[in-house]
Amino acid sequence: MSIIEKLYHMTAIQDIVNGPGTLLMLVIGGVLLYLGIKKKYEPLLLIPIAFGLILANLPGGGMSVVPSEFIELDGHRYKNLFEIANDHGIMNFLYYSLIKTGFLPPIIFMGVGALTDFGPMLRNLRLAFFGAAAQIGIFAVLLSSIALGFTPAEAASLGIIGGADGPTAIYTTIMLAPHLLGPIAIAAYSYMALVPVIVPLVTRLLCSEKELKINMKEMDKLYPSKNKIKNLKAVKIAFPIVLGIVVSIFVPSSVPLLGMLFFGNLIKEVGVTVARLSDAATGSIMNTATIFLGLTVGATMTSEVFLNSRTIMIIVGGFIAFAISIAGGIAAVKVYNLLARKKINPLIGATGLSAVPMASRVANEIALKYDSKNHVLQYCMASNISGVIGSAVAAGVLISFLG
């Protein structure tokens, strides 16, 4: 064999010639990079995902995640991490140690917890209800996806996109349908980035101008709440502890997610004595986790896995799940307003979806467009944050029944 031949065989050119899917995947990677970099769609995740996708699809680099059959051995045993690294390279080492073990999403949730302020929710506890109604999209899409031929576990992973919460969607998919991890993660993060488009769309479709002009502050003046919080710090410290316990009892399978969320929140609220810990949770730990989560999730998307009709269905289904969740939240407010004197702005239902805090900001802008004095941000944050809990609980139920 001549030098030139050897040289040629070292390259991946032949692989590209053989499989034109690679080129298509590179285009998709380019589009995702464009969305992340230029359009600023959740760049912290889309850029690593896109780069991981590109690396994974360049044949010969050994940077693509292999299906789990490759690491299965006889007798219900698996290759160990050292063997995985040896046989399949560092990307699989990362994937099978950090992702497939379900490790990173709870770790990121710890950071999310340490960044979350439950204050707005505690000041408007009633509104937390609407984070429940806005989970309907998850189950509605689960239902339709099964009808379309997905397995229940796959359908649940698809539906959870409607939870509008990245780590929750990824964790659920790891547990139920890891082969769909790539497209589901991309759909989840893309639609979260598209909240400024989706929320106004659905809201305008379903709400009258009069409803959108409901002024929460004036309602508060008309019907003041009984419980003024006298010691916010104490309440904020007790809240994650009590909630952590109660959620663990009722939906044990949501503990890895919500337990870590509440732990992160607790160390934030305790404050300066454990600032080293909350700094680590929101800083080095969360950033490192984000890099490796993104790269490895991207690396699962080889052309064989990604280029099929299911991916299209996930993209479409995810959008529907988002829309139904928003609609569910709005509908719940409308029902409530029928019964109660103290009216609620339906935008607070729309933000029950979660996608914190962008949904709240978008909702606030919509409200201001109709009435430049109607600031609803703090109220939206209440249902917005409760939507995080809501979708993690929904995830727990799904994992518990289908996992």
Partner: protein, 86 residues
């Protein structure tokens, strides 16, 4: 049971659970607030507290940094003298 029937049941269980949990959030939140108001009031006007909170959050990292920086530059002998209203 058909997958669809199962999915319907799952929808029921799921939405009920979510509603139960978020009801508990509301309920327990209110209980905590009442408990704290009764036994650990430390009557602090919310607004002041909030500002203080924020300040202390900043303090921890940034004020400490600037103050000790100035101190160090001057060997412990200096301090910022002019900080005026915006």
């Amino acid at each position: 049971m058909s997958d669809l029937g199962f999915a319907l049941q799952l929808m029921g269980i799921g939405m009920i659970t979510v509603f139960i949990i978020l009801s508990l959030v509301v309920l327990l939140g209110n209980l905590i607030i009442r408990f704290v108001n009764q036994y650990l009031p430390e009557e602090v006007s919310r607004k002041v507290e909030q500002v203080a909170n924020q300040t202390s959050d900043f303090n921890r990292k940034k004020v400490a940094a600037i103050v000790s920086a100035v101190k160090t530059v001057t060997g412990g002998k200096g301090h910022v003298t002019k900080i005026e209203k915006l």
